[in-house]
């Protein structure tokens, strides 16, 4: 492999990217758009759940409870009800997804027995929303619980150490800090890198076949490796730039906590970029049409990375066969790595398994791409 030729190809390719609006758009606009779309659009967080309030007691405490439900953005009061029948109708019509029922005598029961019940009703036709809303309600109640507990202690002059014995209701663990966005956004970065990376390189060789420039190029002493590394170099730089942009947006805009090392992030990102770009390049070498190569690159990255990378759909809840298939999806390893680096602050060593998987992947794909290129018109 000759460096001079490699540089000549890399430089030529850079000029062509710069002058080709299509490549530039894919390289620069796609990540911005997708980061916005996927970062915001695909959020498991549910806000402003329509809530019906049936306050049978109408006391100061009951009003305080209603306020605490609507104070956060989780619930939004859409109707105030007066009878059981109205409650039933509201749920039937779907005008509210959740209902809060405060029974008569709630305050008295609470302060005499130390235990009282609030009723919440959820429309579980959309199980996900119902689940999430249940979580929110439990969290709100838990907070309320703590407040009332403190008040109870003050009123009965019980020492702080004895407070634990007076519980209003079972404590519900609700991690308000656990934003599903923290879980999703790192995965979004993986998807964008997979899509953009494979798209970019899928055009590079097929374009030369399509335009007829390949015939000239293969009449020269250029080698398959020089061509591959020369062509991949500028795209690799663009891919890393895109990744840096997406990761920065994840950390600073979506405020996903970053607990790992930047070094580990860069190494693993470069590795994944090599895998997806190698895949695009391989397709470009095998399929002599730009459209064909980019379509297949899209097919091979879009579905597997969204469905089988575990980015939103947890892999451990999938059937065994599907889980097995997901093992050949490289994005799966990168998603795991990103989550580990961002949320757990894992070191390279702790991520040895997914890193090894990516290394093997990169090796196989680069080898296949280098071998697939034929300097022949046959």
């Amino acid at each position: 492999m000759n460096l001079r030729r490699l540089v000549a190809i890399a430089y030529k390719e850079t000029l062509q990217i710069w002058r080709d609006p299509r490549s530039l758009a894919i390289a620069l606009l796609m990540p911005v758009m997708q980061m916005g779309l996927l970062g915001y659009g695909v959020s498991l967080d549910i806000k402003h759940v329509p809530l019906c309030v049936y306050d049978q007691e109408q006391s100061s405490l009951s009003r305080q409870i209603v306020d605490s439900f609507t104070a956060a953005q989780w619930f939004r009061t859409v109707a105030v009800l007066g009878t059981d029948r109205e409650l039933r109708a509201a749920m039937d019509h779907g005008s509210c997804t959740a209902a809060l029922v405060i029974p008569v005598g709630f305050t008295r029961t609470l302060f005499t027995t130390g235990r009282a019940e609030l009723q919440t009703v959820f429309d579980a036709t959309d199980t996900n929303t119902a689940n999430v809303a249940t979580g929110y309600a439990q969290g709100i109640v838990a907070q309320l619980d703590a407040t009332l507990n403190a008040r109870w202690q003050a009123a009965h002059a019980v020492s702080a150490s004895a407070a634990g014995t007076v519980n209003l209701s079972p404590r519900v663990w609700f991690n308000e800090g656990l934003d599903s966005r923290n879980f999703i956004v790192p995965g979004v970065v993986a998807i964008i890198l997979a899509l953009v990376g494979s798209q970019l390189t899928s055009l590079t060789v097929s374009r030369e076949w399509e335009r007829g420039t390949m015939e000239q190029l293969i009449s020269t002493p250029v080698t398959a490796l020089e061509l591959m590394f020369g062509k991949m170099t500028p795209y690799f730089a663009i891919g890393l730039l895109d990744a840096a942009f997406c990761l920065a947006v994840a950390a600073f805009w979506f405020e996903v906590p970053f607990r790992g090392s930047l070094f580990a992030l860069i190494v693993t990102t470069a590795l994944f970029a090599l895998v997806v770009m190698g895949l695009g390049y391989l397709l470009s070498v095998r399929i002599h049409s730009q459209l064909g190569a980019s379509q297949i690159a899209l097919m091979l990255t879009m579905l597997p990375t969204t469905m089988l990378s575990g980015y939103t759909f947890p892999l451990d809840q999938m059937p065994r066969a599907v889980q097995a298939v997901s093992l050949i999806v490289p994005a799966r390893y990168y998603v795991a790595i990103l989550r580990a680096v961002f949320l757990k602050g894992s070191s390279l060593w702790e991520m040895a398994v997914p890193i090894a998987a990516l290394v093997i992947y990169a090796g196989l794909i680069i080898r296949a791409a280098a071998r697939a290129f034929r300097k022949s018109l046959d």
Partner: protein, 315 residues
């Protein structure tokens, strides 16, 4: 390589694509510094042959040695010693003149200290001074072709393969291109150039005429022009060329008739009477001038050779 050995040497060179034989047992020898014109109708196998000699297509049978290297066994060594211009323009249209030259200079590893001088030479040769920063897509056909030639000779290859380099180029630019080819040959470069412009055959030292993948004739223009057509050649004018051609082809004594530009060329058997042609046409209501005896051009010879090659029993 000794001085006497041919720079391009092919024996029994063949290429089959499935059932179709594009090149059929072709023998070819080109000496150093020779300009050989590769002539033949479309689909004759010119491009396929050139591509095999460049190592771009693998011969189905036979062998070819280019610049001392076997095209099938040492294609990389062949590529390092040749310059190639494909039939379709294949430089980068979205790069400038200078960027294309620099790219191929890098690919061919032209010594850095010489690159600037060679690029300047190529630009001057192509007449592209002052256009170095123009995108190639904005150039006219003749300029593009000369730039392509410039890129193909940056590494000073001893052998050049030019596949229809002048197709679609206006006559004046074609003339200029041939001057370049001849000056390169004068410097000792061996050149095989295909063309479908018969008049360009005159610029070559030697002509190789092929049809249907097989060698029809080879020789210098002078030798080929002396070729016995097997009759006397006449030229006729007519306003209705097509109709006249049909009548003439069926006329007694006519060996062959063909349209040449805006005239008809009629080859008559030695015993036939040219004066009999005009009445024959007049009887069909076709106005035509009298047949004028002419000296056969190279093109007449090619047409005759090809038709004789296609139907040997009729000739």
């Amino acid at each position: 390589m000794s001085d006497g050995a041919p720079v391009v040497h092919a024996r029994g060179l063949s290429k089959r694509f499935g059932d179709f034989t594009a090149v059929d047992r072709l023998d070819l020898d080109i000496a150093k510094g020779e300009v050989v014109g590769f002539i033949g109708p479309n689909g004759a196998g010119k491009s396929t042959t050139i591509r095999m000699l460049c190592g771009l297509l693998r011969p189905s049978a036979g062998e070819a040695i280019v610049a001392g290297f076997d095209v099938a066994r040492q294609p990389e060594a062949v590529r390092a010693h040749i310059g190639y211009m494909s039939q379709k323009f294949s430089l980068y249209a979205d790069l400038t003149v200078a960027e294309n030259l620099r790219f191929f200079g890098g690919i061919y590893r032209v010594p850095r200290e010489e690159l600037a001088a060679r690029m300047r030479f190529a630009v001057t040769m192509a007449g592209l001074e002052g256009r170095e920063t123009a995108l190639v897509r904005t150039l006219a056909g003749g300029w593009k072709q000369r730039l392509a030639l410039g890129c193909a000779i940056l590494h000073r290859p001893p052998v050049l393969f030019l596949d229809e380099p002048t197709s679609g180029v206006e006559p004046k630019a074609r003339r200029r291109f041939w001057d370049l080819i001849n000056s390169l040959a004068a410097d000792g470069v061996t050149i095989l150039v295909s063309t479908h412009y018969m008049d360009e055959a005159e610029y070559c030292n030697r002509i190789v005429l092929i049809d249907g993948g097989r060698l029809v004739a080879a020789g210098s223009p002078t030798e080929l022009r002396k070729h016995d057509l097997g009759g006397a050649l006449f030229e006729m004018e007519s306003a209705t060329l097509g109709a006249a051609l049909t009548v003439l082809r069926a006329a007694p004594g006519v060996v062959e008739a063909a349209i040449f530009g805006d005239r008809l060329h009629v080859l008559l058997a030695p015993a036939a009477d040219p004066a009999a042609l005009a009445p024959l046409l007049a009887a069909r209501g076709i106005a035509a001038g009298p047949p004028m005896p002419i000296t056969p051009s190279l093109e007449d010879v090619f047409v005759r050779l090809v038709s004789r090659h296609r139907a040997p029993e009729a000739a």
